[in-house]
Symmetry: C3
Subunit: 346 residues, 3 copies
Amino acid sequence: VQQEKAAPADLTGYERVKQELVRPPFAPKHDQVASGDPKIVEITMTVDERLMVVDEDSGASIWAMTYHGSVPGPLIIVHQDDYVELTLRSPSKNQLEHNIDFHASTGALGGGGLTHIYPGEETVLRWKATKAGLFTYHCAPGGAMIPYHVCHGMNGAVMVLPRDGLKDGDGNPLRYDEIAYIGEQDYYLPKNADGTYKTYANAGDDYADSLEAMRTLTPTHSVFNGAVGALTGSNALKSEVGKTVLMIHNQANRDTRPHLIGGHGDYVWESGSFTDAPQTGLETWFIRGGSAGAAIYTFKQPGVYAYVNHNLIEAALLGATAHFVVDGEWDNALMEQVVAPRTSET
Amino acid sequence: VQQEKAAPADLTGYERVKQELVRPPFAPKHDQVASGDPKIVEITMTVDERLMVVDEDSGASIWAMTYHGSVPGPLIIVHQDDYVELTLRSPSKNQLEHNIDFHASTGALGGGGLTHIYPGEETVLRWKATKAGLFTYHCAPGGAMIPYHVCHGMNGAVMVLPRDGLKDGDGNPLRYDEIAYIGEQDYYLPKNADGTYKTYANAGDDYADSLEAMRTLTPTHSVFNGAVGALTGSNALKSEVGKTVLMIHNQANRDTRPHLIGGHGDYVWESGSFTDAPQTGLETWFIRGGSAGAAIYTFKQPGVYAYVNHNLIEAALLGATAHFVVDGEWDNALMEQVVAPRTSET
Amino acid sequence: VQQEKAAPADLTGYERVKQELVRPPFAPKHDQVASGDPKIVEITMTVDERLMVVDEDSGASIWAMTYHGSVPGPLIIVHQDDYVELTLRSPSKNQLEHNIDFHASTGALGGGGLTHIYPGEETVLRWKATKAGLFTYHCAPGGAMIPYHVCHGMNGAVMVLPRDGLKDGDGNPLRYDEIAYIGEQDYYLPKNADGTYKTYANAGDDYADSLEAMRTLTPTHSVFNGAVGALTGSNALKSEVGKTVLMIHNQANRDTRPHLIGGHGDYVWESGSFTDAPQTGLETWFIRGGSAGAAIYTFKQPGVYAYVNHNLIEAALLGATAHFVVDGEWDNALMEQVVAPRTSET
Ligand SMILES: [Cu+2]
Ligand SMILES: [Cu+2]
Ligand SMILES: [Cu+2]
Ligand SMILES: [Cu+2]
Ligand SMILES: [Cu+2]
Ligand SMILES: [Cu+2]
Ligand SMILES: [Mg+2]
Ligand SMILES: [Mg+2]
Ligand SMILES: [Mg+2]
Ligand SMILES: [Mg+2]
Ligand SMILES: [Mg+2]
Ligand SMILES: [Mg+2]
Ligand SMILES: [Mg+2]
Ligand SMILES: [Mg+2]
Ligand SMILES: [Mg+2]
């Protein structure tokens, strides 16, 4: 094939570093401004087909197909002009063929054409991060298997930072104190005639039923980080007044519209490109299906913030809600309850 | 709670003014450029649960939950750094708990956490308009009640003007002669087995049925200003050639794509932020579910302009159509019917 | 009517040229930079109601309503301040009333109010291209007939180039080597009780069934250039490494999110306006229902690129996939298969 005849890449002088992947909503250790020259960032991901509970209340479950055990797959962070060198493994306990398509990469269906592996196999792909921004990655084995795998959780995001870090529209540096990495997943779970969710013995067994459910284009669930409640209650995100959070939103298949209830997007890269000026002061932003974007916010008040897909049906009934619990001092100059609810004269 | 321990806001020197709310599609009296220092703008809104006809042809109706009697709720206009001081009342004739979440505000779930009132109660909330732009407000009593109330009409918009008014991307002033304030409402009306719409005796009685209908994510109606035909025929908007209209579009729940048939968006704040340069010369713009945006157009031809959600199924079958009737002189230099329809030789 | 009383347009000094329409995905002969003064561009389109196969596998078909025999209708290209002078004919073999609404034009419902023709009729409309950008045109006979005709394929795009051609955000010229003109069409095909697609004897016979199907807002098909597979296999688009393609995407009714698998949008006019700076480096872009937009990409690797609506269900199950087959030399510096799939030790 063409790749074999091509000149080998000249990697002289590139330092190699390893990036340890961490579970969402957390971000791997990284520098916001790159130090030194572009590097080769080595990453290892293991494909893990696993039965996951989607909603404890209804008992809805799915044989999820995951990168490295989580939905979404882990966040990868590099700087522009770095190489990502990925080792992708599929243990023999898995049932299905998988691969990986990096929206951030160039050629071969985003790498999808070079990484088809069966259970018990591994492959190594290296690609250069030429575009700065947030980019989805996902499995794309071909044909109807593409939405089937993606809608079973097999997707995540890469952040390619500009070497000198994020900037506002005037070129001033923007820095964050923490990252909240949120993957929204639309599931199309097959149901029994009585409305309960079907269960299956093995990954892949729900294929025909899933295709029928997907054709409705109407998800049964749209959840953050794999399951209803994965980022609420004891799993809520934490922050403090004065802290700046970068909220990364990945949606590999279906449009969504993140909103931080009680806050804003101070700076928003809606389509995820860091070579364009961020929008400012947004109430709600739009993530196109098949993309990742981000918003920066500095918390100004303590309390609970719900971060939702602002189709409120999807937020409240389908699962698309996370919580930030923010410590600090209330500022009555921004908002004050002048009169608490009381019986009205009129 | 935290609010009680916080230092009181220093309101020394703030002048208080009252804003009289008016029915949509009209805008309250306001200055496009602020005069003097930031003010405290006092507003009173009454929650009104009322049976409304959605479509006279089919007899579809809803126990709407409204701010001040209309769907959408009234447009509020202030300038950046002004305070909004809202008195929210719910008469005892109402059935349900309500509150208000202002996307324009900061903290406490947009004020939603501080304004829960039951029938017979009132509360007063004050918040500072720190961000310039168009912002949705809506009821958010918690859980499934959130989409239930929002999809029963309980939402509206605040416009926070820059103190020196609107500007194009080069900083030149943009002024309008009139405002058309349009709220698009997706309704999910429960049906009987024969396809007719169900009727209910009281507000809230349709709760279980509505939740089931909302889960389809497919509205039975998507209407402007509360009902099919609310802005057409004798209710059409009026304008003149040479006049500049600011078309404000609020959609608190579901994405939409306004289009002015026969005109354009000369300047468009699609995501509603006035701190970003408006887009120019658009055919169709996109309002994310859970946001308000606006477009400016100067009419150049007389006649009827349909203003639609350009999913034409939603425009023609679900109700998302308004009309502008524009007076003035036709300009053949822009468009001319060179040959009127006639029998063709070929 | 008003048009009759208006002063005639002064067309002194305007040269007349004819534009020969060509079948999508191809573009008519044109200059990227205008030579000389604005012109009157004469175009003739014939309305053609024709039975088309939508999907050979399932046998799904439609009595398409077409401009000039294709779905989408032909691409029209002019420069800003040119006139388009369209002769629209409907042969007597047709069944239905048609007209044309140009989003690029000003007044009379985009010309829709001046161009209603019945089978056996013709009309001539002239309008000035005052706005630079990509704009949808479509049939809009009134009421429910509007989505019915548009969802039967009766739409296309006009590109109004700036007189000095396309530019990046800094004002530098952007040129393309080729155009790929892609119209995405959502069809709502009525089905029999057994799930097979209904067939009809004449154009228009599916009206009542179609309206019912459209109300679901869930298309049975979303295809590029009229049918499943119209731009794949032997119909795939062709290009070369180093060539720059302008990908024009028209969707007259329903939102979509184009993505080039393995490539990017180097420059993207998402909402189609050429008076706004293009976005840069996008993975996925968003075309609002009822609009046309475009992206420029310079191919950097050989191979097959799938161009999809990145709702992957729509791409893989509903038909929204095209292919580019790109010749050239592979560049391992951008992507390299370091280790081909092999049995894993672990
Ligand atoms: Cu997979
Ligand atoms: Cu993809
Ligand atoms: Cu309420
Ligand atoms: Cu909200
Ligand atoms: Cu037609
Ligand atoms: Cu249109
Ligand atoms: Mg095995
Ligand atoms: Mg394959
Ligand atoms: Mg992105
Ligand atoms: Mg009562
Ligand atoms: Mg509550
Ligand atoms: Mg807004
Ligand atoms: Mg005939
Ligand atoms: Mg008519
Ligand atoms: Mg356009």
